[in-house]
C-alpha cells in the first residue's frame, strides 16, 4: 500500500502546497490548527477539490487535475472517521456499522472483508448494537464511527482528530483500541492530530505541516528527535521517543526496562514482562553531563553521543543525542553549550529527570 499526495490549493489568503508519501502503518499529519491538515485530508477523501494536485493510492489515480481526473468520494474506497462522528441518527448502531457494506464492491471477496464480529469485538461495541446514536456517550460514538469506516472495507483509513472532542478519560478509553487496530488490521491510517502525545503513542510516520507546507516527514522517532522540529511543535512539548523492553520487576517497587542505550528504572509498571514499550522523554527533562555524574539522585543516566546541536534565536539550544539505536533531544541553554564545550560527536551522559510511558505495547505496527 502506498499513498502519494501532491496538492496545491489557495483559499482565503491561505496557500497549501504539500507533497508527501504515506507508507504502511499510522501516518500522523501533525500541525497547529490552521496548518492545512484538514484541507489535505478532505482532498484525499474527495470532499474538497484542490486547485491543482495529484493523489495516487496503490497505483490508482484518485485525482489528477492536469488529466482532469477526479474520482468522486464514493468511488475512492477511503474510510473517513470524522471528528464529530457523524453517525446516522435514524439508524441503529448495527445499521450504521453495516451501512458501508451495502456499497463495498463485490469483487472484494468475503475473505477480504473485515469480519463484523471481529471489529465489533475489537472496538468493544457489542452491547451497543441495538441502540441509536442519540443516546451514546462521546467515546461510544467515536468507536462506532471508527467501526463503521473500517467495515466499509476501505483501502485507507482517514482519521480527522477523532479524539479532539473527547475529554482525557475518553481519550484514554479510545487510544488502546486505535493501537489494536493499527497492530491487528493491516490497514494504513492517515491520522490528523495536533497532540504530540498522540503522535508519540500512535505514529509510525510523521508528516509535519506548518502554514500549508510540509516541514518534515519520516519515521516518528526521527522526526520527533529532529532538533530543528522542536521549536515548531512547541518547546514545552518537544520530546523524543525511546523503545525499551520491560525486563524485570525489582523488589523495591521499581521496574527495569532495557533500552539499546542502557537500563531505565520506572515506578512499577503493570504490563507483563517482555512487553515492548514506547517511552516519551521531553527535551526539557533531559540534562547533559560531560562526565558520569556521581552523587546524584537521578536513576536514569544514559551514555550518549551528541549528533546535532541546534542553536535557537533565544538563550536556548536543542541538543540531539544518539542513545544506542534511539535518539533523544535535550533542551539546554546556549551558555551551557559553551561552558561545557559541547560539540558534535562528543561523548556525554544524558540525565533523565522524567520518563513517561507513551504506549502500552508496541506491536506489529512498527515499520
Amino acid at each position: 500500500m502506498s499513498l502519494s499526495v501532491d496538492l496545491h490549493h489557495r483559499f482565503d489568503g491561505f496557500t497549501l502546497s504539500a507533497r508527501f508519501d504515506v507508507p504502511q502503518g499510522v501516518t500522523v499529519l501533525f500541525g497547529k490548527s490552521g496548518a492545512g491538515k484538514s484541507t489535505v485530508i478532505s482532498a484525499v477523501a474527495g470532499l474538497l477539490r484542490p486547485d491543482r494536485g495529484r493523489i495516487l493510492l496503490d497505483g490508482v489515480t484518485l485525482l489528477d487535475t492536469d488529466a482532469r481526473i477526479a474520482l468522486p468520494p464514493h468511488r475512492r474506497r477511503i474510510g473517513y472517521v470524522f471528528q464529530d462522528g457523524r453517525l446516522f441518527p435514524h439508524l441503529t448502531v448495527r445499521q450504521n456499522l453495516l451501512y458501508g457494506r451495502w456499497f463495498a464492491p463485490s469483487s472484494a471477496g468475503p475473505a477480504d472483508r473485515p469480519a463484523f464480529d471481529r471489529i465489533v469485538d475489537l472496538l468493544g461495541i457489542a452491547p451497543l448494537l441495538h441502540r441509536r446514536p442519540g443516546l451514546l456517550s462521546g467515546g461510544e460514538k467515536s468507536r462506532v464511527a471508527i467501526g463503521r469506516a473500517i467495515l466499509s472495507n476501505p483501502r485507507l483509513l482517514l482519521m480527522d482528530e477523532p479524539l479532539a472532542a473527547l475529554d482525557e478519560a475518553r481519550k484514554a478509553e479510545i487510544l488502546p483500541y486505535l493501537e489494536r487496530l493499527r497492530d491487528e488490521l493491516r490497514l494504513p491510517i492517515l491520522y490528523v492530530s495536533h497532540s504530540l502525545a498522540e503522535v508519540a503513542r500512535l505514529a509510525t510516520t510523521v508528516v509535519l505541516l506548518d502554514a500549508g507546507k510540509v516541514l518534515a516527514t519520516g519515521p516518528a522517532a526521527e522526526v520527533l528527535a529532529d532538533p530543528s522540529v522542536a521549536p515548531l511543535v512547541g518547546l514545552r512539548n518537544a520530546g523524543a521517543i525511546l523503545t525499551a523492553r520491560l525486563a524485570a520487576h525489582e523488589a523495591d517497587g521499581l521496574s527495569r526496562l532495557d533500552s539499546s542505550a542502557g537500563p531505565i528504572l520506572l515506578p512499577r509498571l503493570s504490563q507483563p514482562l517482555g512487553s515492548v514499550l514506547r517511552l516519551r522523554i521531553l527535551a526539557q527533562d533531559v540534562m547533559i553531563a560531560t562526565e558520569a555524574p556521581k552523587g546524584i539522585s537521578a536513576l536514569n543516566i544514559l551514555p550518549c553521543r551528541i549528533s546535532a546541536i541546534h542553536i535557537g534565536d533565544g538563550p536556548g539550544a536543542i541538543v540531539q543525542l544518539a542513545a544506542g539505536e534511539d535518539m533523544l533531544i535535550a533542551r539546554i541553554t546556549r551558555r551551557s553549550v559553551q561552558s561545557l564545550k559541547l560539540t558534535q560527536g562528543a561523548a556525554v551522559f544524558a540525565v533523565l529527570k522524567a520518563v513517561s510511558v507513551a504506549q502500552e505495547n508496541v506491536g506489529f505496527g512498527q515499520p
Partner: protein, 232 residues
C-alpha cells in the same frame, strides 16, 4: 339539524376527500424534487422557479382558476392537445378539481419540504458518500429518511389546503353536484338557497371534523417519526 347527511351531501364529502387525496399524492414526488432543487442546487432560473411555485399563494384564487381554464380547458392551449391525443379532460371533471387543488396547495407543500431539506446536515451526506454511497443512494438512505417529518407535514398541509380550496376550483370546474361539487362548493351552494343555513352548518361541522382529524393524525404520525429519527 343532526340528521344523517343526505346522499348528495355525502357525495360532496367523498368527492372532496378523493380530490384532496389525489391532488396530494400526485404532486408529492414533484414537490420533493422542486423542494430539493430549490434547497440544494444553484442553477440559472432558480429564483424564477421559486417565484412560479409561490405564485398561487399570492394571486387571487380566481385568477389561478381563470389561468387553468385558459390553459387546461377543452379549448385551452394544453387542454385541447391533451383531449385530442390522450383523451384526458380536466374541464368540469373531478380531475380538474384535483388539478386546481394541487396547484393551490403546491407552495405550502414545497415550503414545508424545503425547510426540512435545509435542516439536514450536509455533513451526514458527506459521511455517507465516503462510505461508498453515490448521490442517489445518499438521498434514498440518508436525506429522505431524515426529511420524512417535513414531507409528512407538507403532505398534510397540502391535503388540508386542498380540502378547503374554493376559488380556483369553482372558476375552473364550476360547481356540478356529484361531479365537481366539493365540500366548500356545497356550503357555498347551500348558502345561496333561502333557508339553506342549516344544511350549510352541517357541512361546516363535517369540514371542521375532517380538518381536525387530519391535524391530529399528522401530529401523531410526525411525533412518532421524529422520535424514530432523533434516535432516542
Amino acid at each position: 339539524m343532526f340528521d344523517p347527511l343526505t346522499a348528495e351531501e355525502w357525495r360532496a364529502v367523498a368527492l372532496s376527500l378523493r380530490v384532496s387525496f389525489w391532488a396530494t399524492a400526485v404532486s408529492l414526488p414533484l414537490g420533493i424534487l422542486v423542494a430539493y432543487a430549490l434547497a440544494r442546487w444553484r442553477f440559472w432560473g432558480r429564483e424564477v422557479l421559486n417565484g412560479l411555485v409561490h405564485l398561487p399563494l399570492i394571486l387571487p384564487p380566481v385568477v389561478t382558476g381563470y389561468l387553468l381554464l385558459v390553459t387546461f380547458g377543452r379549448r385551452g392551449s394544453v387542454g385541447a392537445y391533451l383531449d385530442q391525443w390522450f383523451g384526458i379532460v380536466f374541464a368540469f371533471r373531478w380531475t380538474g378539481a384535483a388539478l386546481a387543488a394541487a396547484i393551490m396547495a403546491f407552495p405550502l407543500m414545497v415550503r414545508a419540504i424545503r425547510l426540512a431539506i435545509e435542516a439536514v446536515d450536509p455533513r451526514l451526506e458527506q459521511a455517507a458518500s465516503t462510505l461508498g454511497a453515490g448521490r442517489v443512494w445518499v438521498f434514498a438512505t440518508v436525506t429522505l429518511p431524515l426529511i420524512l417529518p417535513g414531507i409528512l407535514a407538507g403532505a398534510i398541509l397540502a391535503f388540508a389546503k386542498a380540502m378547503g380550496e374554493f376559488g380556483a376550483t369553482i372558476t375552473f370546474v364550476s360547481n356540478i353536484p356529484g361531479q365537481t361539487q366539493t365540500l366548500p362548493s356545497a356550503i357555498y351552494a347551500a348558502l345561496q338557497v333561502p333557508g339553506g343555513e342549516t344544511q350549510a352548518l352541517r357541512l361546516v361541522l363535517v369540514s371542521i371534523t375532517v380538518a381536525m382529524a387530519a391535524l391530529l393524525v399528522s401530529e401523531w404520525v410526525s411525533r412518532k417519526v421524529a422520535k424514530r429519527i432523533s434516535g432516542a
